[in-house]
């Protein structure tokens, strides 16, 4: 939920997850204004798709490819949209999860992340993800990773949203906090080891 301003976490209620059409969810890290532009492009794309009114619709794979084209072309013009995007969805029973970033690198994977998530969360996923997890198991795993990120990122805020997408559609939860523990011995009397003059 955080929106950074350089190294400061300035905006603490930014929506970084958006449903796209009937079948897709998009999440982003990086420059929020660029993400908002991307959402505008996609809204237009979905609008024209709906206007055909012909029973066909753009699924997650199509949206992902479109975003890849967008990001890569901007990169080639040396004017990138400064984002890492994660994109997931379900269409006709087919599940899809992928990512595309500001230089146009894109791939599909069972677990994707932006920013520090790649370093802190994905190793946990690699150990603990498996096919046919239940939704609750998935949420627990995600919360575990978010907790690690919360502890270890110097500009993180304890406020997150979980989004779920199924054949029926997308739901994004209300923002909530996860339990953290700061009663470690080392945090008590922090100056014990090096008493300062002031």
């Amino acid at each position: 939920m955080g929106g950074s301003y350089g190294s400061t976490l300035r905006y603490k209620s930014v929506q970084r997850l958006k449903p796209i059409g009937k079948h897709t969810l998009l999440g982003a890290g990086g420059e929020i204004s660029d993400f908002q532009e991307i959402v505008r492009y996609l809204d237009e794309l979905i609008l024209y798709d709906n206007m055909w009114d012909d029973g066909n619709s753009l699924g997650p794979k199509e949206v992902h490819n479109y975003l890849n084209r967008l990001m890569y072309n901007r990169r080639n013009k040396f004017n990138p949209l400064w984002n890492t995007l994660v994109l997931g969805g379900v269409k006709n029973g087919q599940k899809y999860l992928g990512t595309v970033n500001m230089i146009g690198v894109h791939y599909e994977e069972n677990h994707v992340a932006t920013g520090f998530g790649n370093h802190l969360a994905r190793p946990i996923f690699r150990d603990e993800w498996h096919e046919d997890m239940t939704f609750e198991e998935g949420v627990k795993l995600l919360e575990k990773c978010m907790l690690v990120l919360l502890y270890r990122d110097r500009s993180a805020v304890n406020k997150l949203q979980i989004a779920k997408i199924t054949e029926e559609g997308a739901t994004i939860s209300e923002p909530y906090a996860i339990k953290t523990h700061w009663e470690l011995e080392a945090f008590k009397n922090p100056a014990t080891g090096a008493v300062g003059s002031w």
């Binding site: 055909w52 066909n56 699924g59 199509e62 490819n65 479109y66 084209r69 006709n92």
Partner: protein
């Protein structure tokens, strides 16, 4: 139709509200040799008669693959047909590039129709003189469309365009209700039989008869002339059999029943 003072250019309406140049363009379609299309729940088949200029020349190419899931059959000005097919290929490949997904047939057909419409409203371009039967498969199933020089398009269960297409349509009218449940091969046989009806002279054989299929699990492909010849031969064999061997009078026996009908049906009206 006869010449009149309103038919010089496409930007002139007649008092009756007709655009004669567009109608003349539709006449050009009727000059081309026949093309037939038919659809089942799983496949679409295109069958054409390809005329040859002379004994020495090759047969007219009337079927074009547009993408793995779409193909067209043309009737009328072949050059116009070729140019439109190339345009359709370009549209398909562009969509694939943007979305990594096959272009839905209905959308391609509308784009094509809009392109044709432009030529009915400019004083410096003439309408395209070609009718197209677009056969394709997308996630909503198999589809068959007709595109006209007027910029209109229609979806069909089965249709025929070109010279003597009415004879082919008469056969299709009798049989089309069975098409949704037909197998791929039965559908092809129906197509070839109906195109036979539209043949003025000469015999249908593997060289002058082009057959193409697209369906669930089958990319758009044109049948080899040998394969077509075999099917034509098998139709003839059945026609020669005495009625006793043919399936009972009642009931949908598909292709077998058709041959006895075909023997009786007029080749030309």
């Amino acid at each position: 139709m006869f010449r009149n003072q309103y038919d010089t250019d496409v930007t002139t309406w007649s008092p009756a509200g007709r655009l004669f140049q567009v109608e003349y363009a539709m006449e050009a379609v009727k000059q081309g040799s026949a093309a037939v299309g038919l659809r089942s729940k799983t496949h679409v088949v295109l069958v054409c008669v390809g005329k040859a200029n002379s004994e020495f020349s090759s047969h007219q190419k009337k079927i074009f693959k547009v993408d793995d899931h779409i193909g067209v059959a043309i009737a009328g000005l072949t050059a116009d047909g070729r140019v439109l097919s190339l345009h359709m290929r370009s549209e398909c490949i562009h969509y694939k590039f943007l979305y990594d997904s096959p272009l839905p047939v209905g959308r391609l057909v509308v784009q094509l129709a809009d392109k044709a419409q432009v030529c009915t409203q400019r004083s410096w371009t003439r309408p395209y003189g070609v009718g197209l039967l677009v056969a394709g498969l997308d996630e909503t199933g198999p589809h068959l469309y007709q595109n006209c020089p007027s910029g209109n398009y229609f979806e069909y269960q089965a249709f025929a365009i070109g010279a003597r297409s009415q004879a082919a349509k008469t056969y299709l009218e009798r049989k089309f209700e069975t098409f949704p449940e037909c197998s791929r091969n039965e559908l092809i046989r129906h197509g070839i039989i109906s195109v036979k009806e539209a043949l003025a002279e000469g015999k249908l054989n593997g060289s002058n008869c082009n057959v193409a299929v697209v369906g669930i699990g089958e990319a758009f492909n044109t049948l080899d002339s040998k394969a077509v010849q075999q099917i034509i031969d098998s139709l003839e064999d059945r026609a020669d059999e005495p009625p006793v061997d043919v399936a009972p009078v009642e009931g949908e026996q598909g292709a077998v029943q058709d041959d006895t009908d075909q023997a009786a049906a007029p080749m030309e009206t």
